[in-house]
Structures are given as structure tokens and as C-alpha cells.
């Protein structure tokens, strides 16, 4: 290790990997995540060793761990040597619960997973169900565009929440208040459209739950007009500030090769310069009909991930403006008696309509046997859903690929060799939602 003379004597300033064996180096680079407790015991330096390290726990009640993430950190002084995320504190067995709910109730269950972007969870489960039903291409255009509108609004609110919590983690309290304030405006729109601020359950197999309410156009336009100039304020407040840049630049660096190996997606992948966005590369809904840019970074550090999210809000506003202007008229859900309930007015005049309504909400609809995987680009990365059906009204197995769950694996790489104070920056820049990690 290189030593530097300071007023307090010689200090080891740089963490060096020289003189390490291949095994040791592999363990170092791969972080403790790949090492069992027993291995850690045997490879620990003997007592009295000069390079003795200290293991401390961060979380699960630490304010900057975004809920209930616990990190075991192995520290050499103030340097994080290895780390291991420990999860499961929020595990509620949603995948098990889903096996006991009908396909119509399934979306309600999964909104609780990624609670910062619930509409994406609903969308992905709905998309997988529709794929099994074989009605993906029959969804009315208006339903598709309403889904797209809601998802982009949700991306805005989720990224605004990121800005708020990211600011909070850094001690920038005004940013936190601003982020919450803007997010609140988006949530108010959600409340008007879906009836709820969170856990909407609005996107359902066959379309959406209801049509857009009166005055939706003006409200959303007003929201876009209000948020857009405030993003410029954020730029002044954060992006351009030397202190903000010093705090983020070069912290939590990860390269594209590591990200590919670890399976991380979303802003983490894009921050390394890989332009991969499912909205553009594997277009779902009607994303091939709107114009937007995929924002990429070049250094793979925390600043890139912050800047990507900030600019993705701009792209989302751009998409929202196009969507509200191009919103097609027509039905908001498929007219298939076996999948969607009949219109309310029909129930009063038709016995069959009443029966269909009753059957759908009690028994649910039957889905052909088989398996399907659907994926969407959630604010955190690829959100996927793998459903196995056995021909009944309830899924045989529902598996949700939560992007946060996979993305958390990059943390030990980002934090390795950094300061413990930078660990907070790294966690924040991954933007994990623990509800989705633990499911």
C-alpha cells in the first residue's frame, strides 16, 4: 500500500491490490456476496494482524437504506472492503399469494411490490396474462395509449421520488421537499384518473378499469407545464453545483462488462453507456409511435445515474405531451364477455350481462394452459413477469423479475474500495425499492 506523509504521520491513502493472490483478488472483486459465512471465517486475517478489518451492520433501520435493506460492511478504516446486502425483511410471500388469486385479482396483489411505480407492476402482469389469453393484439388503441400515458406519468413520479430521496440521503433537504412537491402533483392526477394515489390496480387484463375523467387533458397539460421549468431549477440547484458534482462524480463506478455479468438493467446499465431501453429496443404498447431519446451516461458513476433519471423525466414529459395530443377515441377495454365485465348499463337490462359480471368477479376467467413471459421498462430497469397457467382461473405460478432485486447485486462492486460515506451515495444511486426486492 502506498503511504503518504501527513501532519499526523504516515497514512495509507490508496487501497492497493498489489501482492494479492488470484483467489484473494477474486474474492475482493467479487465482494463478499459470493462468499459464505464459513468461508469468511477461514479467510479472515488472524487475530492481531495489522490489517484487521471491522465488520459493521448498516441497516435495516438506517435512514438511507430506502426501507429495510441491511448491509454488512467490512471496513478497513473508513474504506469499504467488502459488503453484502442482506434482504428479506419485507418478504410477504406475494408470489405464493398470487397462486391463490384469480387473474383479475393478480394485478391488485402486485401493485404492492414496487410501490413507487405500481402501474408498471400491474402492466407487466396484465401483459403476461394477455399473452396467455392471446388477446395482446386485440386491445383497443385507446386502452393502449391510456396505459402508456399512465406509465409515463408514473415514471415521472418515480424519478421525482428518486430525486427527493437522493437529495435527502445527501442532506440536501430542499431538494427532498421539491421532489415530494412535484411528485404530489403527479399523484393528484393519478387520484383523479384512477381514484387512488398509489396501488391503483387500474390496468387490467383486457384494457383499463375506466375511461379518462373529464378535464384530464387540461390537468395533464398543466402538470407538464408546471414540472418542466422546475427541472431547469433542479439543474441550477443540483447539476451545476460544484458541491453536488463532487459528491457524486466518480463515486460508485461500475463498467458495462460488470453490469452485463451481474444482469443489472435500467439506469445502471444506461449509465455505463449502453443504450438499452425496452421502450425503444423491444417496443411494447405504442412506444414505436412516439418520439423520445434514450438517455445514456459515459462514466457509470452515481452522477450519471442521477443525470439519467433527471433527464428521463424530461423525456417522459415529452412522451406525455405526444400521448395526450394523439389520444385515440374508442373503447377503453376489450369487448370480450369472457375477460372484461360488461358495461354497467347492460347489467340492468340483460340477464346474461349480470351473469357474466358475476362470474368474472367471483370465479374469474379461465386462461389457457402454458407459460408466458412479458417485460416492460420500469423506472428501475427490466420488470418481467413469468406466468405459468394450468387452464384454470388462477395462475399456477407467478414470478416477478424485480429489477431492484437484481440491481442490488451491483452494490458490492460499486462500494468496493470507496469510503463508507460514499456507500450511502451508491445505495441511493441504485434506487432500490425494497417491496420489489423482497416481494
Amino acid at each position: 500500500m502506498s503511504t503518504v506523509q501527513t501532519s499526523e504521520g504516515a497514512q495509507e491513502m490508496v487501497f492497493s491490490r498489489k501482492g494479492m493472490g488470484a483467489d484473494e483478488l477474486l474474492r475482493e472483486l467479487g465482494s463478499v456476496l459470493r462468499m459464505s459465512e464459513a468461508d469468511a471465517q477461514t479467510s479472515a486475517p488472524p487475530d492481531g494482524d495489522e490489517a484487521e478489518t471491522m465488520i459493521i451492520n448498516m441497516g435495516p433501520q438506517h435512514p438511507s437504506t430506502h426501507g429495510v435493506l441491511r448491509l454488512m460492511l467490512e471496513l478497513d478504516g473508513e474504506t469499504v472492503v467488502r459488503s453484502k446486502p442482506i434482504i428479506g425483511y419485507l418478504h410477504t410471500g406475494m408470489e405464493k399469494t398470487a397462486e391463490d388469486l384469480t387473474f383479475l385479482q393478480g394485478p391488485t396483489n402486485v401493485t404492492r411490490m414496487d410501490y413507487a411505480s405500481p402501474l408498471f407492476n400491474v402492466l407487466v402482469v396484465t401483459a403476461a396474462t394477455e399473452k396467455l389469453l392471446g388477446i395482446t393484439d386485440d386491445i383497443p388503441e385507446r386502452a393502449t395509449w391510456i396505459r402508456m400515458l399512465l406509465c409515463e406519468l408514473n415514471r415521472m413520479s418515480s424519478h421525482l421520488l428518486f430525486l427527493a430521496t437522493n437529495g435527502l440521503d445527501m442532506g440536501a433537504t430542499s431538494v427532498m421537499i421539491y421532489g415530494w412537491r412535484e411528485r404530489e402533483q403527479v399523484l393528484r392526477i393519478f387520484e383523479k384518473i384512477t381514484g387512488l394515489r398509489m396501488n391503483h390496480n387500474f390496468i387490467r387484463p383486457g384494457g383499463v378499469a375506466a375511461d379518462l375523467p373529464d378535464g384530464w387533458y387540461d390537468d395533464i397539460l398543466a402538470l407538464c407545464d408546471a414540472v418542466e421549468p422546475r427541472l431547469e431549477e433542479y439543474d441550477t440547484l443540483m447539476t451545476g453545483q460544484p458541491m453536488w458534482r463532487d459528491r457524486f462524480q466518480g463515486v460508485g463506478v461500475i463498467n458495462a462488462q460488470e453490469v452485463y455479468a451481474l444482469g443489472a438493467t435500467g439506469p445502471i446499465l444506461r449509465s455505463t453507456g449502453v443504450a438499452w431501453d425496452l421502450r425503444r429496443d423491444e417496443p411494447y404498447l405504442a412506444y414505436d409511435q412516439v418520439d423520445f431519446d434514450v438517455v445514456v451516461g459515459s462514466y457509470g458513476d452515481a452522477f450519471d445515474r442521477f443525470a439519467i433519471r433527471l433527464n428521463e423525466i424530461r423525456e417522459s414529459i415529452r412522451i406525455v405531451r405526444q400521448v395526450i395530443d394523439a389520444m385515440p377515441a374508442g373503447d377503453y377495454r376489450i369487448q370480450d364477455k369472457k375477460v372484461t365485465p360488461p358495461p354497467r348499463a347492460r347489467i340492468d337490462e340483460s340477464m346474461e350481462a349480470l351473469i357474466h359480471h358475476f362470474k368474472i368477479f367471483t370465479e374469474g376467467f379461465k386462461v389457457p394452459a402454458g407459460e408466458a413471459y412479458a417485460s416492460v421498462e420500469s423506472p428501475r430497469g427490466e420488470l418481467g413477469c413469468y406466468i405459468v397457467a394450468d387452464g384454470g382461473a388462477k395462475p399456477w405460478r407467478v414470478h416477478v423479475r424485480g429489477p431492484s432485486f437484481i440491481n442490488l447485486q451491483t452494490l458490492p462492486h460499486m462500494m468496493h474500495g470507496g469510503l463508507i460515506a460514499d456507500a450511502v451515495v451508491s445505495i441511493s444511486s441504485v434506487d432500490p425499492i425494497m417491496g420489489e426486492v423482497d416481494r
Binding site: 456476496l33 459470493r34 438493467t265 438499452w276 413471459y373 418481467g384 399456477w396 432485486f405
Partner: protein, 178 residues
Amino acid sequence: MADATVDENPAGPEVEPEPERRHGALVTESRGDVVLHPSRHEVVDLVRTLRDDEGYWMCLDVCGVDYLGYGAPRALPVGAGPERFEVVYLLINHRDRTRLRIRVQVPEHDAVVPTMFEVHPGTEAPEREVFDMFGIAFAGHPDLTRILMPEDWDGHPLRKDYGIGAIPVQCKGVETQP
């Protein structure tokens, strides 16, 4: 043997076409997705070949499925014998924008699959989840411990023979069903 049959009976309409294979694994299609069915002994080599030669650089996910008591016929090709458990891998090729799904059959009496960790380190956490939820062991995994459930938990919750469970209700005259 198959060739000899064809020679003897060239016009025979009963000759089954040779099943499609990719790097030795049976290929099927499911709702537009390409599905491979290797045996559990071949899966690591198959995924390595796909990574090195075909550009499937990322393994998106590993998940388990328990087919105990599954009523419908399983969409499996001849040669991939259905077993109780299945481990499903999702691979993606970013350059060609293609995806592959790999379904591996795992017998109940010997629920062990070789780990994918050496090929895709990102399967570390999902494999632990499959182990935790289904009790399928991954041979060679560096840290095969429970990930979501508490360390001292009994059983594997996502198995079909594991009850949904109930918390005892503290009410008089109410019996909690297990």
C-alpha cells in the same frame, strides 16, 4: 436407425421429422418465444456457448416452478421428460434483440442443478431465491443460503405441498386452519 427407416420406406408419411436442436438442446416455441430444453447436466455448457458464440451476454433471471399436481399437459418436447421441478433461465442478446428461455427439468428425489454463477455471476441472488423458495440446490454456488426467508425457517414456501399458512387468531371459539 432413423436413416435406415427412411431408406427402406422413402415415401412413408409416418416418418417423424428430426426434432430441432440448438447446441444439442431441444427447441420449442411458446407464444412467440424460443424455448430450449437441455438436461440439467448440459445447461451450464449450453449457456456458456450461447454467451460466448451467440452474444447472449446477460442472464436476466432464474426462477423455479413446482409442477406437483399440475393438471394440464406440459408443453415439453419428446425427450425432455417432465419432472416435478423446473428451473427457468431467461437470456437476452442485446445486439440482435432476441431472447431465449431455458427450461430445465429437475427431479424431486435429486433436486440439484449445477450453478450458473461461473458463467453469469448475476444469477447469484436469483439462484439463492430458488433454493430458498423451492429447495432446489445449486451445486457449486458460492453462498447457498436462504435469502428471503429467515435462516432458521423450515420448508420451502413456494412448493405446492407447502400450505398457505395462517396466523393463530386470538379469538374465542375460532379454529385456525393450517
